[in-house]
């Protein structure tokens, strides 16, 4: 992108700042609109405002006044965090970074006119658009379940209220009752997330309701950090947790929320709590904008620009980028690369080469933390994994406690990187 601009302007610019401005900007300050104030969007908005020093105008569109992180919401379920500690406001981004924070929904994007339409009826023009809307659930993914059933069978897979509901249901379980989780098929946000949740549910139940049972109904053959989780589950929670994989009907499940019943390929189970995490796809606005192919929005690895429109970038869970897992760490990493590329395209800022990283920590029991991570590079085809690491089986308690402490540090860092 930068290269292209230099070619066009080469010779003309000759050191003149005025000529170095891109041609899309007839006059005024270039406008960047960011849709979604989560791990990807808030980070991108903050870096753009910070690094441009006012050379671009940043508008952030996000309906919620407070962003409750999904990351660490499992720790809330395990009794290790309170909900307040997971909520973050946008005040600092507005007051100290000069970002125009608009609490509204983006409902449509006119990519020819470069305008985002909001639910309130307002519209916001852009020179560059960054979408980081996270995920939506696929309709009909779990027969019997839809959004009207999410109070009986919560997903708790988008931050805040749903996690509180799920936890209250766990605390109200009858003695010896059954907690069931319908796990999602790949790809979905936070690959170890469902299994960390199981661990934290088990932590709570072990303390309050030790005869309770946990049933995972899983359409996948295997899952992230499986050996580490299974080792930990056996060690900490005895026989509490059972997983039904596709071999035994894990991919052929339907639910009856009114009766609190699940049907696993013909075997019907009565359950007391049922956490349904349906199959996922890019947040709706990415589809509305016509930027998806199938469920996700394909992007170029070098700058997270859409493969369907170079004026739009898609970050985080919504993007089909290659090898990175859908995580807050990934979204944050992608947002930094994207912010640098967008600044480079709109001003004469230097663009840093695209390098990406991810680490996913999971807590198996209090102080028993594990992690998996990798670094990535941009290729023509995709964001490609370079090399990685994973916690080992049978690590000593001190190592695991260190890993957990590392994750606490990460939480503080990423939320500061998002919200200032």
């Amino acid at each position: 992108m930068t290269h292209h601009r230099r070619t066009v302007l080469g010779g003309l610019a000759a050191g003149s700042a005025a000529f170095a401005a891109p041609m899309v900007m007839a006059q005024g300050v270039p406008r960047v609109v960011v849709v979604g104030g989560g791990a990807g969007g808030a980070t991108a908005a903050r870096y753009l405002a910070l690094e441009s020093g006012g050379a671009v105008e940043v508008t952030l569109i996000e309906p919620s006044r407070s962003y409750f992180t999904c990351f660490f919401s499992n720790l809330y379920i395990g009794g290790l965090r309170d909900m307040q500690s997971l909520g973050h406001g946008y005040g600092t981004l507005a007051a100290e970074y000069g970002i125009n924070v608009v609490h509204d929904w983006a409902v449509a994007v006119d990519r020819d006119a470069r305008v985002v339409a909001l639910a309130s009826g307002a519209s916001v023009p852009y020179d560059r658009l960054i979408l980081s809307p996270g995920i939506d659930f696929k309709n009909g993914a779990v027969p019997g379940w839809d959004v009207t059933a999410q109070d009986d069978m919560p997903h708790a897979y988008r931050g805040g209220t749903q996690a509180e509901l799920l936890k209250s249901q766990i605390l109200a379980m009858p003695e010896g009752g059954t907690f069931a989780m319908i796990a999602p098929p790949d790809p979905y946000r936070c690959p170890p997330g469902p299994y960390e949740r199981i661990s934290m549910v088990a932590t709570t139940l072990k303390a309050m309701n030790p005869r309770a049972k946990i049933l995972i109904v899983d359409p996948k053959e295997g899952f992230s950090k499986q050996a580490l989780f299974e080792e930990g589950w056996q060690r900490h929670y005895g026989g509490m947790i059972e997983r039904i994989g596709p071999d035994f009907g894990g991919a052929a499940v339907s639910v009856d929320p009114a009766a609190m019943r699940i049907d696993i390929d013909g075997i019907v189970e009565d359950v007391d709590v049922c956490n349904v995490i349906p199959a996922q796809r890019a947040g709706r606005v990415a589809h509305e904008a016509g930027l998806t192919e199938g469920d996700w929005a394909p992007v170029n690895a070098a700058d997270m620009s859409s493969r369907l429109d170079p004026a739009v970038h898609v970050l985080g869970d919504a993007a089909a980028q290659g090898d990175m897992p859908k995580s807050a760490f990934s979204a944050n990493s992608q947002a930094r690369v994207c912010a640098s590329a967008v600044l480079g395209a709109l001003t004469d800022a230097r663009v840093f080469p695209a390098v990406y990283a991810n680490t996913c920590w999971s807590l198996i029991a209090p102080d028993d933390g594990v992690k998996v991570g990798a670094s990535y590079e941009a290729t023509e085809e995709k964001i490609a994994r370079v090399d990685g690491f994973i916690s080992e089986l049978g690590e000593d308690a001190e190592t695991r406690a260190d890993t957990y402490r590392e994750s606490l540090g990460w939480y503080d860092e990423i939320t500061a990187d998002m919200f200032g």
Partner: protein
């Protein structure tokens, strides 16, 4: 009968004569070893499934004894040759005297 015990079996519905088919079984059971102590330090009494038998048309295919060291929710995968159509039966024997049974038809085409 122990609580929450659900046997599950996966058997192909059809086979060709003499075909070797793969059968998988899973039973949810805590498999309490008898060695574990509860929070109050009392020994939790042993309660395991100690035997699993699969038969085809009455003939034993496998018959295994299980030890307390077996992990929870025991899983078995084994192959069986099916000479003709018939019924595969499965039985799990619990320490408490319960027997959990399942049966599946296999049609030889």
């Amino acid at each position: 009968m122990a609580e929450n015990v659900t046997p599950r079996v996966r058997v192909p519905a059809t086979a060709t004569a003499g075909e070797v088919v793969t059968i998988k079984t899973l039973i949810s059971h805590r498999m309490e070893s008898g060695e574990r102590r509860d929070e109050a330090g009392r020994r939790v009494p042993r309660s395991i499934i100690h035997r699993f038998v699969a038969r085809f048309n009455g003939e034993t295919v496998i018959d295994v004894a299980m030890e307390p060291a077996i992990s929870t929710n025991p899983f078995f995968e084994f192959d069986a040759r099916v000479p003709e159509s018939g019924t595969m039966t499965f039985a799990w024997y619990d320490d408490d005297g319960s027997i959990y049974e399942e049966a599946r038809e296999i049609v030889v085409e």
